[in-house]
């Protein structure tokens, strides 16, 4: 009997607490409700639909003959990977592109950030100039680059022609991959530079002063103080850039469209082979060949690949990223 009374009292207390908590938190839930709704409707639901689509023969309109085909799309993707076809080429080119563009972009943005945090005349102007590409719309930037790099009527070749008459480098065809890397590095420079500059400015000046007093030169200070101190930012920026690189779609198609898209800026065209990236392959299969099921399978494989890669990078970061506190430590650990 006493036990029952105690239990009832606990229940009443719980409900009272619940009500109190609800009063305290209702505004919180009310305010985040639009975001939760947006997340469910526009992110989670499409992701689930995409997953279901990858197990189907969906072609965009075949609702009457839609059927579950199990892992058939996934099997075909792996078969294509091993048959050295377009899927393999696309994966191959994407990995090379991502590694190169991330490396070049990181090296450039870090170098420029270091320079622009020092005492250079007109550094504010340089900061603005270097950040400007990050503010331009992608398609407009591509259009400008095409005008600069066009094989026959490009500005760059016209300038080169003044220096070395008769020289015309086919930037958008035979040097298409280089052009893509340059464009990507140029476009991502500003954003990364700002982050690195913030990181460098946050390093206590005593550390550098002490190193200078001990006789360290600029390079040694950069290598032994600046780099370790901003390594969490390099890690963060690199992970984002790698994910972005693996998901590149529009740039190669519009920048280097090959014969099929000469002149026009159409997403339906196919870029030159060197710039046939993974997402271009996904786009071709999904929207040109209307193989939405196969395209979704490609995307899910890329998703898993990115997930594993990110996990691996985070695990590896313990070896080279300097954290002032142990990231694995728990509150109270000594």
């Amino acid at each position: 009997m006493i036990n029952n009374l105690v239990t009832s009292e606990k229940k009443i207390k719980f409900f009272r607490m619940g009500k109190r908590n609800w009063r305290k938190t209702r505004w919180f839930y009310l305010f985040i409700a639009p975001w939760i709704f947006g997340f469910l409707a526009f992110i989670l639901a499409p992701v689930i639909v995409g997953l279901l689509m990858s197990f189907s023969n969906f072609t965009g309109g075949n609702f009457n003959s839609l059927k579950f085909i199990g892992l058939e799309n996934y099997t075909e993707v792996f078969r294509d990977f091993f048959s050295s076809g377009d899927a393999w080429l696309a994966l191959n080119r994407t990995i090379v592109f991502t590694l190169l563009s991330v490396f070049i972009s990181t090296a450039l943005s870090l170098s420029i950030a270091s320079l622009l945090t020092g005492n250079i005349r007109g550094r504010t102007v340089f900061r603005v100039l270097f950040y400007l590409p990050a503010m331009l719309p992608l398609v407009a930037s591509i259009w400008v680059f095409r005008s600069l790099l066009d094989n026959n009527v490009g500005v760059l070749n016209a300038i080169l022609d003044l220096i070395v008459p008769g020289i015309h480098i086919p930037w958008l065809t035979k040097q298409a991959f280089l052009s893509l890397i340059i464009f990507t590095a140029w476009g991502s420079l500003g954003g990364a530079m700002i982050i690195y500059m913030a990181g460098i400015q946050g390093i206590p000046s005593e550390l550098r002063d002490a190193a200078a007093v001990d006789g360290a030169n600029g390079l040694q200070i950069f290598r032994n103080i600046t780099m370790p101190m901003i390594s969490p930012l390099i890690m963060y920026q690199s992970v984002l850039a790698i994910i972005g690189g693996l998901q590149t779609l529009v740039t190669p198609i519009l920048l280097t469209p090959g014969a099929g898209g000469s002149g026009s800026m159409s997403i339906s065209t196919i870029p030159v082979r060197d710039n046939y990236l993974f997402m271009v392959h996904v786009y071709q299969e999904s929207f040109n060949r209307l193989r939405f099921g196969y395209g979704s399978a490609l995307l899910w494989i890329m998703f898993v690949f990115i997930l594993i890669l990110t996990f691996f990078l985070i695990r590896m970061s313990k070896k080279w990223v300097y954290y002032e506190v142990d990231p694995d430590s728990k509150p109270g650990d000594k």
Partner: protein
Amino acid sequence: MKAKLLQALTVLVLLTLVLSGCATPTPTPASVDTTSEPADATSEPVDATSAKPITLVVAAWEEEFTNEQIAAYTALNPTITIERIDPDQTKLAALVAAGTAPDIIRASGSDVPLFVQRGWLMDLSSYFNNSTVLKVDDLVPANSYFVYNDVRYGMLKDWSPDSAFIINKRMAEKAGIQLPPLNSIITYKQAGEWAKLMTVWDGSRLVTAGSEGFGSDVDVQNVARESGGDLYSEDFSQAIIKDNPVVVEYLTWAANMAKDGYTFGPLNPSPDWGVPDLQSGAAASIVMGYWCNAEYAGSADEGVEKPSDFVMYPALSWGGEKVFNTSAGGAGWMISATTQHPDEAWKLFEYYMAGQPAIDRATSGWGVPSLKSQFVYMEAPTEWQQQWLDTVNWELENVDTTARRINPYFSTQTFNNIWYTQVEQYINGEISIEEAISNLDTEVNKAIDDGIAQK
């Protein structure tokens, strides 16, 4: 307690007011003006049974279905609101996939079989049979694009036999070329020889390509038809490319023209596309259609080259005896299979295809009318435009302009993308021309197999 209830009710009322304020105001049936007089038979208000306000979503480009035309139609049919969206193919595929297809779809005639195959289109046969303004007998043969398994799904808004050969007379004369009389049959190889003479290189810069390029799916269809065959088997289950020696010979020739730098190609793409390239002097000849006379007429003073120098010949021939112009380039309208307003959509369809918008199109010179009865509206204000119109009329009488057969299992864009990829590898020396053609055959047939498997 009462105070809380009052608070909750106040919030509820305010929320309702805010939400209703956000909603789009729709006219009530009582506010509909039914006294407007129709301008002509095709723009009559829809019947009383559909007096409920509705919205028709039309996927069409703004310059083809203008705001003025929309306003004119909705003024006569106040219960109908028209929402125009761009007919981008990707967007369309996504809308259909999401179950929100537009009521009316604008697409190229060559896309129709694929759309039918995907089940996107409504059967319009009975509408055509019962229409007083759109009669099947009055439709030009190129409208066969819209007939699939004896079912009619739509019609062209206008069209042109798009494989005509257009050459810059000034550049030809400069290269020492004696052009043949108008309406002569010119072979691809002859056009190729002229292209060689007209090509201008400045070091490694291509200043003028003798010709824009060859080897598109349309050219291949023309050549295949000329050989007595077709690009596809009877049931579309197979593409016949490497097994047709004439097609192989043609593709080899086209790839070599690009490789040798007499035309634009995958590794030396055009700075723009055919029409502006001819006008800017980047190309000395192009394969294009009658429609672009309006483009040139509208920008006659803008280009380096003058349209009066552009001479139009009929479509090129491979063998030199027969000419096939199977391109029938043109776009048309169709009605979505999932439309909730088929009758209203059809009324708008009739207005667009036979009413004032159709007459405006015919007089503009942008294409050949889709209805024979509207040929009378075609105009040629200048001497060179009259020459183009004469060539088109000559082609309509003397050349086989039956539309090419479109494979329903894959898109023509896929064919071209595959071929350009192969030519690129051939020019780079990675594969031989035999391998390029064999790969084209394999890839196209694989794409067809995929399409059939997804049926």
